[in-house]
Amino acid sequence: MMLPWLILIPWIGGLLCWQVGTRSPNLPRWIATISMAVVLMLVLLLWMGGDYSLSGLPEAQPVWQQEFRAPWIESFGVSFHLGVDGLSVVMLLLAASLGLASVVCSWREVQHNPGVFYLNLLWNLGATLGVFLALDLFLFFCFWEMMLVPIFFLIALWGYNPPQDKGRIHAANQFFIFAQTSGLLLLFSIIGLVLAHYHETSVLSFDYDVLRTTKLTLLAEWILMLGFFIPFAVKLPVFPLHAWLPDAHAHAPTAGSVDIAGILIKTGAYALLRFTLPLFPRASQAFAPIAMTLGLAGIYYGAILACVQDDVKRLVAYINVSSMGFVLIALYAANTLALQGAVLQMLAHALSSGALFILFGQLYERLHTRDLRDMGGLWSRLSFLPGAALFFALASLSLPGTGNFVSEFLILLGVYKTAPMVAVAAAGSLVLAVVYSLRLVQLAFFGPPHDKYPEVLVNPNVRELAMAGTFVVLLLALGLSPQPLLDLPLASLTRIHHTLVSATALVPPWPASVPVP
């Protein structure tokens, strides 16, 4: 019974924020913070209360730790079906914690209609939690599309208009059109899959567990797999479909950026793992070389462009493109080690880039610029902030000790088993990571101070310190003791891997799970 509340609490909180927003600007902030804190606590309870170990392997059917099912539209075979396994719990943890962070980080930034702002933010977060919970494809699609509208408003109404630019409304439109069009493709593919299952068995159902057993011809599997790949690739974003991301980041408010980088683009990776790979194992295996090539292209493209950006948020956006390239090659490497690495990469990367967005958001509140050419020498002018930023920049280049190192190491190790050349090529990009991270730190914090700074730069307050500190602790914890979060999704990932391997004889069977030292 807990699962629907994970979605309902943010939504109800959002409506409350909207209604009290006109009376007092502080009330919605507190309501939003409390709702997200409650959600985080529920997710932690879910983690602590459930057993997500490897018991009962290796049957192909997923075992849900908790389920919730209610009838919805019987004529289409649609039910309100939520469920969690280890993989969903990891993603829920991510969404709830970064959701809380995005609420707290916009505390002072948003002065204009905070009630409606938090309405949008919380509805987006609720829908995202729904994406990670939904086990009915119709329901999943509803949540998938409902994430978009609030983000559209966040960018269009509370975003920034950098000079010499088409403006935030353009960016918001671009984001929405990319997402909505690819979403339509997803809708038609879902319907195609459901009808294929209907023709085979005369059972009309949108349920994930039912549709997993569909027998498709290879051609149909290819077509539907592409229909399930492209929308998720747009979200991830995979190299040729990434155009919306830098624009969206550059114009979004800080909370929007944290939300997009930390949660939204991770839904793409989650959906690939949850739906595309297990539903279409044969076509996915055959598609793997192409997907890996796209992933490599994204890694290098993002890294190279990140090296030449002057707008901090665009820079971090291209870092996103690059790290999600790693996730993509890991997903298609088809072994448990790489999949574990991919999940950890999502967590670590969400934390490091989310923190960078928050820190540079705080700098923006002080300097009113995000242009690296207008910064410099801040190390001597501000306490703590530059140091924290240095830490997260180093995390972005995967310094050992941070979660990013563990995840990239696992990914490269896993990919090396299946596609050694891809792993070698991907490893080369780590050099570029050093370049963009150090350039960011160098230009922003060292060198002579810029002469246009305000007289007084306020040192960070308790809220800002606490946020940055929490992120540092979390990232170090991931780096120094990743085992709990590697074990949590292991059963789900092994099942996915098992499906992939058993569906095709072409691929040699890898060991079901590789123990992590």
Binding site: F76, V149, F176, L187, L195
Partner: protein, 510 residues
């Protein structure tokens, strides 16, 4: 001679015409009409007439119209028990017609509330509008029940002629006159096409009833050349009335020039009635089973979807944007018709529901905004809606809801419609229509977003559209809020509506 059951089945139609009659009697000032009214009252025709026949009274007239249509709606409840039933050779009341009558009456009542608010401040004769209105509704009701070319044509003209008058109701405005004349000339031309087609069909089959024409198109042999020509002519007339591309050229001009509630009426009542009779015509004459038909309809649908969405992109006038978008949406509707089978009209009716609710919501907001006393032009520029959310949040939310429904975002009623059409087209393997839907929706998102974001942008200064009275206490405001709630409920929980629609089959009676 009709028996009691058949009279009962015709009750909604009769009540509609009685409404028109009562208004006709209630409007004039002169004493002699008063006497006529008294006589008719004595005849038991219309008891309220006597009390109000003495003088013009805007409120009374509008209430009579509402009461008449409401009574007709109520009379549908007993009618349900006698369906399906044929009434002579002209009419049939089957579950499909029954549902369509209900939709028509509800939509007409909604349009009525909008008109009532809109014409409240109109300086010249206001009451005749309701006469034209109720006549047009009678025509629409005739159409959905007809199964004979004669009743079809009478219904069509009874619907079209008052609408010409309604479009030009602001006779002192050039754009309204232009719109009316354009609509009149093109409408007359399309009627001529339809008549010619009917004449050919009659010459070939010797019958005017749908069932009598059917032998022309039945069997394995392809129908004669002349029959196909007749069919094409009727198709042209229908395409014009539905404003399908390439017969859509009149639509944006007429939508822009007509008073906002009349635009609402054109976009909803007219479209419902014509789609309903068209579907019945296709099924009962067995034209639906012609292999040549579906490619032609598919082509019309694809053209409308693409043309409507593309042309809406460059517009800055909200009535034109909505006009073009209605072209596209009738295209989606036609896609559903193509994918339908005589037994499976669910997708068509569902999309019709979604379209009607969305059009009522969006045009309704335009209409309420245009009813403002402080300006005598309609609120049709996009800039008139800038920052509406910060001034009238609920009105803006109604509009935003309608826009989301137009784009087909989940949990809006538009999504349920789109979903059903998608299932139907994918199920039938109509890949051209599938592609057109994806491309069309992608384009459509853009202009819907532009309208939607305009509603939420910061207010630039004072707008000229200020609502002096509290709009939520007007019937039209209540109607819009209720409509939005229904749209949300249906979007979230469509199961009851789907059950209702599954009941509504076309029954072919001898």
């Amino acid at each position: 001679m009709l028996n009691l059951q058949q009279w009962m089945a015709l009750l909604p139609l009769i009540l509609c015409s009685l409404t028109a009659l009562s208004i006709m009697l209630a409007i004039p000032r002169q004493r002699r009409y008063y006497n006529v009214a008294a006589v008719m009252t004595a005849g038991g025709l219309s008891p309220v007439v006597l009390a109000i026949a003495k003088r013009r009274h805007y409120n009374v007239i509008s209430v009579i119209t509402g009461a008449g249509l409401g009574l007709a709606l109520l009379s549908l409840i007993p009618v349900w028990t006698v369906t399906p039933l044929s009434i002579g050779p002209l009419f049939v009341v089957d579950p499909f017609a029954h549902l369509m009558m209900a939709v028509l009456l509800l939509t007409a009542l909604a349009c009525l509330t909008l008109s009532r608010t809109y014409f409240r401040h109109y300086a010249r004769n206001r009451e005749e509008f309701f006469l034209l209105f109720s006549l047009a509704v009678t025509g629409a009701m005739t159409l959905v029940c007809s199964r004979h070319l004669a009743s079809l044509f009478i219904g069509l003209e009874l619907l079209a002629l008052p609408v010409y008058g309604m479009v030009t109701y602001n006779v002192h405005e050039r754009s309204a006159l232009e719109a009316g004349i354009k609509y009149l000339i093109l409408g007359a031309a399309s009627s001529a096409f339809m008549l010619f087609g009917m004449a050919l069909l009659y010459a070939l089959s010797g019958s005017l009833s749908f069932g009598g024409i059917a032998p022309l198109f039945e069997g394995t042999l392809p129908p004669s050349m002349l029959a196909m020509v007749a069919l094409v002519m009727i198709l042209v007339a229908v395409a014009f009335k539905l404003s399908l591309a390439p017969f859509h050229l009149w639509t944006p001009d007429v939508y822009q020039g007509a008073p906002a509630p009349v635009t609402t009426f054109l976009a909803t009542v007219t479209k419902v009635a014509i789609i309903a009779v068209f579907v019945r015509f296709l099924i009962e004459t067995h034209v639906f089973e012609l292999p040549a038909l579906k490619p032609v309809l598919s082509l019309l649908a694809i053209l409308s979807i693409l043309a409507g969405n593309l042309l809406a992109l460059g517009q800055r006038n909200i009535k034109r944007i909505l006009g073009y978008s209605s072209i596209a949406h009738v295209g989606y509707l036609l896609a559903a018709v193509v994918a339908a089978t005589p037994q499976g009209l669910e997708a068509t009716i569902m999309y019709l529901f979604a379209y009607v609710m969305t059009a009522l919501g969006s045009f309704g907001v335009v209409s309420i905004m245009s009813s403002s006393e402080s300006s005598d032009r309609d609120a049709h520029g996009l800039q008139d809606y800038r920052g509406l959310f910060w001034r009238y949040p609920f009105l803006a939310l109604v509009m935003a809801n309608a826009m989301l429904s137009l784009t087909g975002t989940p949990l809006s009623v538009g999504f349920i419609g789109k979903f059903q059409v998608a299932i139907a087209t994918v199920g039938e393997g109509l890949w051209g229509l599938v592609a057109a839907q994806i491309v069309g929706s992608a384009i459509g998102v853009y202009y819907c977003l532009r309208v939607m974001i305009t509603l939420f942008l910061p207010v630039p200064g004072m707008s000229i559209f200020v609502m002096p009275h509290r709009w939520r206490q007007q019937t039209s405001g209540l109607m819009l809020l209720g409509l939005s709630i229904i749209m949300l409920v249906v979007g979230i929980w469509p199961q009851p509506l789907i059950h209702l629609i599954q009941e509504a089959r076309v029954v072919v009676l001898p």
